[in-house]
Symmetry: C2
Subunit: 689 residues, 2 copies
Amino acid sequence: MICLLLCFCVAHADDGYRLWLKYDLLSNSSKRSEYRRFARFIEVRTEPTPVVETALAELQRGIQGLLGTKVGTTPKSRGGVILQKDGSLPEEGYLIESKDGNLLISGSDDRGILYGCFELLRLMQTESQVSGIKIRQAPKIRLRMLNHWDNPLGTIERGYAGASLWKWYELPETIDPRYRDYARANASIGINAVAVNNVNASARFLTAEYLNKVKALADVLRPYGIRVFLSINFASPKILGKLPTSDPLAPEVRNWWNEKVKEIYRYIPDFGGFLVKANSEGEPGPQEHGRTHADGANMLAEALRPFQGKVIWRAFVYSPDPAGDRFKEAYHEFKPLDGNFDKNVIVQVKNGPIDFQPREPFHPLFGAMPKTPLAMEFQITQEYLGFSTNLVYLATLFKECLETDTYASGKGSTVARIIDGSVHQYPFTAIAGVANSGSDRNWTGHLMSQANWYAFGRLAWDHTLSEAQIADEWIKMTWTKDPAAVSGIKNILLRSREIYVNHTTPLGLHHVIGQGIHFGPEPWLSRSARPDWTSVYYHRADSSGIGFDRTISGSNALGLYRPEVQQQWKDPETCDVKYLLWFHRVSWNKKLSTGRLLWDEFCMRYYQGIEGVRWMQDEWNKVRPLVDPEMHADVAGRLAVQLREALNWRDACILYFQTFSQKPVPSPLQPPTRTLEELKKIVEIYQLK
Amino acid sequence: MICLLLCFCVAHADDGYRLWLKYDLLSNSSKRSEYRRFARFIEVRTEPTPVVETALAELQRGIQGLLGTKVGTTPKSRGGVILQKDGSLPEEGYLIESKDGNLLISGSDDRGILYGCFELLRLMQTESQVSGIKIRQAPKIRLRMLNHWDNPLGTIERGYAGASLWKWYELPETIDPRYRDYARANASIGINAVAVNNVNASARFLTAEYLNKVKALADVLRPYGIRVFLSINFASPKILGKLPTSDPLAPEVRNWWNEKVKEIYRYIPDFGGFLVKANSEGEPGPQEHGRTHADGANMLAEALRPFQGKVIWRAFVYSPDPAGDRFKEAYHEFKPLDGNFDKNVIVQVKNGPIDFQPREPFHPLFGAMPKTPLAMEFQITQEYLGFSTNLVYLATLFKECLETDTYASGKGSTVARIIDGSVHQYPFTAIAGVANSGSDRNWTGHLMSQANWYAFGRLAWDHTLSEAQIADEWIKMTWTKDPAAVSGIKNILLRSREIYVNHTTPLGLHHVIGQGIHFGPEPWLSRSARPDWTSVYYHRADSSGIGFDRTISGSNALGLYRPEVQQQWKDPETCDVKYLLWFHRVSWNKKLSTGRLLWDEFCMRYYQGIEGVRWMQDEWNKVRPLVDPEMHADVAGRLAVQLREALNWRDACILYFQTFSQKPVPSPLQPPTRTLEELKKIVEIYQLK
């Protein structure tokens, strides 16, 4: 079979399926020679558990591909890779060093060995030096997790890369080989947990039928060091158990959860725990029963505690108050509960206070919950960042948030140091990314979005890595090792997010999107099922100006931050313009620190965004001869789509806000040639049945 | 790039992506030698149009793969394939003959040449004789069409193979290479038209933005001889044109459609026409305006006529009348309109009177509309036939319908001869299949469902082909040429549909499915938004018996057929038991022609269905060494799922109907070990939010 398949494969270009795990023969022969000096054998000097077997198999596969030589497991005295355990290393950590003519990969545990092997492969894939190295690594955060918003019927909430990877109706009997490749990709970047189903959770996942299916997935993921979590429906005792209530303080409800958890662990002995969206956007929760988030979380924690399971309780809550400020609501609901949560509860907080906007200030809960482990929730899928048609490298967004100083415990209390536990000595740490993978052959729709999956994993492992370094690795593993092309692609990646911000929501504008189409502009949206789902709630534009006054003269959401943070943002004269409209209501004629009037700067940014997309197109064209032609064409096509969409954003926002500013587009910019009505029609098309 | 990819491909087994177009090197060297005698060159002796270029490229690709030799286009005197036109052949027809040491493929037109080339490739793929052949072929039906029920947001109504193939948001700038492989697959079996969007149609497809996208698809499909149709929303003049009405007799509405059609043809000069679901299941239509289906269809026909476009108007209509019989409704609405439709209107009728059940009698409209061309609508996607987890070869179902005699014009007036136009001399003929393809890598979810796509195309081309012959070709091209394995797989395919009927709806039972889950049993369903969406409407079981009396003593739906057909089915004593409950209400104690009492036969069939699935598992295990291991495992997994689901069907139906029959499961059958309540819970899980 294998030889026959060749005939077909050669007729096809690359389809992106292999992600960054391309083990193509290295074209650099001196590098091949260098690496071959350690590739005569692989010796496993520890118990061959399933995870260690995975590490061995991956190393064999990688070496065979990269160096073109099969590598066996018969030990020789020199020239091999030795896998062993070293209990003195920190959990999941590893040490790679050359010693006595061999390369030793010592892991603190099975996962440490696995991650060490992937590190060695990454070094070879990027043609880095291996001889004489000594690399000691351990993850800064313990639980590094993907959250899949996948529904039982195969759709994905905010998923833009086809259908769900999980074929629920085919499980457990049919095991799609993609599950293993998914697991490999995650293991290669240190992801060690996944919540497989949407946080808007169907109760069916807790039935015996579905637990059987989840068990089958867990069995596939386990040898890759990945534990499975489930999102749960808080009303399950009522829905499944037919109890009269789901009140977390009711004994029969507590008993139902206790029994259910025991049942789950019979299927999946290393089950990770529950991810919970409760009393948020219509999902059931403890508040319906007059109880708090802590009451709800602690009930689940009690059930999970005997098995070391975790409760990850999301802080994404907000009640529909037209006079309120959604910015403050999670803080007001959770801050008073600090200290009330059980030890195995983690509260998961989105990076910003609203909802995964292209740019947000960090969430004010970070630094405000010293007694409650807080997990970071980033969104890898590009719900508000151009879905599958826009090129946006998110490491820049992640890093911007992680490196912001909360001043929670004095200077240097960055968000990263909150979530890695070093500021508040959290007993447990976690970070989650809402997955962008789907059933599309290339996993992520936009090939460049593979970088966001990769970057999330790398930053979850080590948030001190720079976005440039991560981009460098990823490009070399995915596209090319040609230095000029690497540099060209890296420039595109590093600038892409600011370009996107400019052509959609510059200067701190936020949430001016369509109600259904979170990737499209609808700044005129003024009616919705909830006031805080409109655009006007956020931009508050009128003839006098634009922006949400969150200073003390307004909602004072700014007051939720430490004084040092407030100081940076409270004065519209000194507030970084990138956050300006997040905190201030500004006159159209206000002169900004950039030297331009607000309206002029506002227009200028949109046009810069368009120029940015054109620049990305030019740069991308330059690398064409150096990368796979089919993959190049795919990205080029999407850049063309992005340009069209960016022009829609620009024209929609400029023409709409111009109805308030009553000012011309400043020269030398050419004003939009379309009318606001035309733009409204374009948006309307996407709302058509 | 190409050589590097090899390393990856060899590590993977087959994933089913290539469908039946596997051009793997033939292992039979004598066959290779035979074919090589015609593979020294390919000469194109006609204008190299895009379709001819496609034919040439496919032939080169196929020969290179199958024979392992590149073939150029420099003519020599002997030993080549010559492509030419022969205007004396019937439209789309071809003649393949060996002559003067060459193989001549003469096509009546471009498509004839294309189909001739695929025929030659099929001969080689199946290792058939080529030397000395003379094959003359022409399609029996002119329009051979796939209907995609794909929605703009990427879901597919009743689609079970991932998301939509069409990436609307990425079009027109990004062209997924899969579009071309999709087109190749269709061209290889003679499909020459596709309606790309759901019949529950979004108006957005008629906007300029979407026409641009549809144009891009049409441009990809055109070189493969495929024309694009659109499903339309009948209320588009109101929705898009902002007219006060969509009344088909209103001049401004007619004008709107005329202008819209002109616009469409500016984008797509060979646009096929409209597919229309109107006044059906909530879709808008002419009846809201007091007009008939003919009024609506003729208005569109007038707009399309200048461009030779067609209106395909679906007859799938039924109004919710608890006292009525859905069986009769399309007949009653359409029969009186015979003769009232414009010449370029085709009325598309589902194979049976209800809705794509595992077995239905043929639709009584076939043979009843001598003045109106009727198209057949088959469903390739397995909405009611076990979706992606059940193995059902549908050629058996298609053939059963096609070969049934309507007696419309005396004996021999088969359904096939109605739709191929030979009975009523229709000026135009058409057949449509609701597509089963999606974004899953293997296109159809269940690998065996690829056979249904293939068989639909082959039968659309030539309905006289036998289901066994089609299976034989498909197996050899897809799985193996080993004679024992071919025979084993063919046996499975040929028996699979009867096995499915037995374990779900034997003896003419129909529509006892869940409201949302059309692939699951819910015979107790008694409440729904419409009475004819329940199960009890159809089975009418009580303690005295089961079945829908459609004879003269009941709804007399049987009276819609010709007397000769009525004669076959009107007497419960002589009616083929496979249609029994379609037409008769039968006492549980009635002795059937099989010698058993109805209840006993009913039970027996379910158990036979289970045995049938087990038999398929055994037979499938036998071929394991002879087929691709990954593909084998996938089918084996799904057979295991099917067994589980079949047991649910059996137990649900037997336990539920036993509450009426009050009789035991006859020995030696072992009664279900589960209770009806347990089965209801299993079904309920799939209805959970």
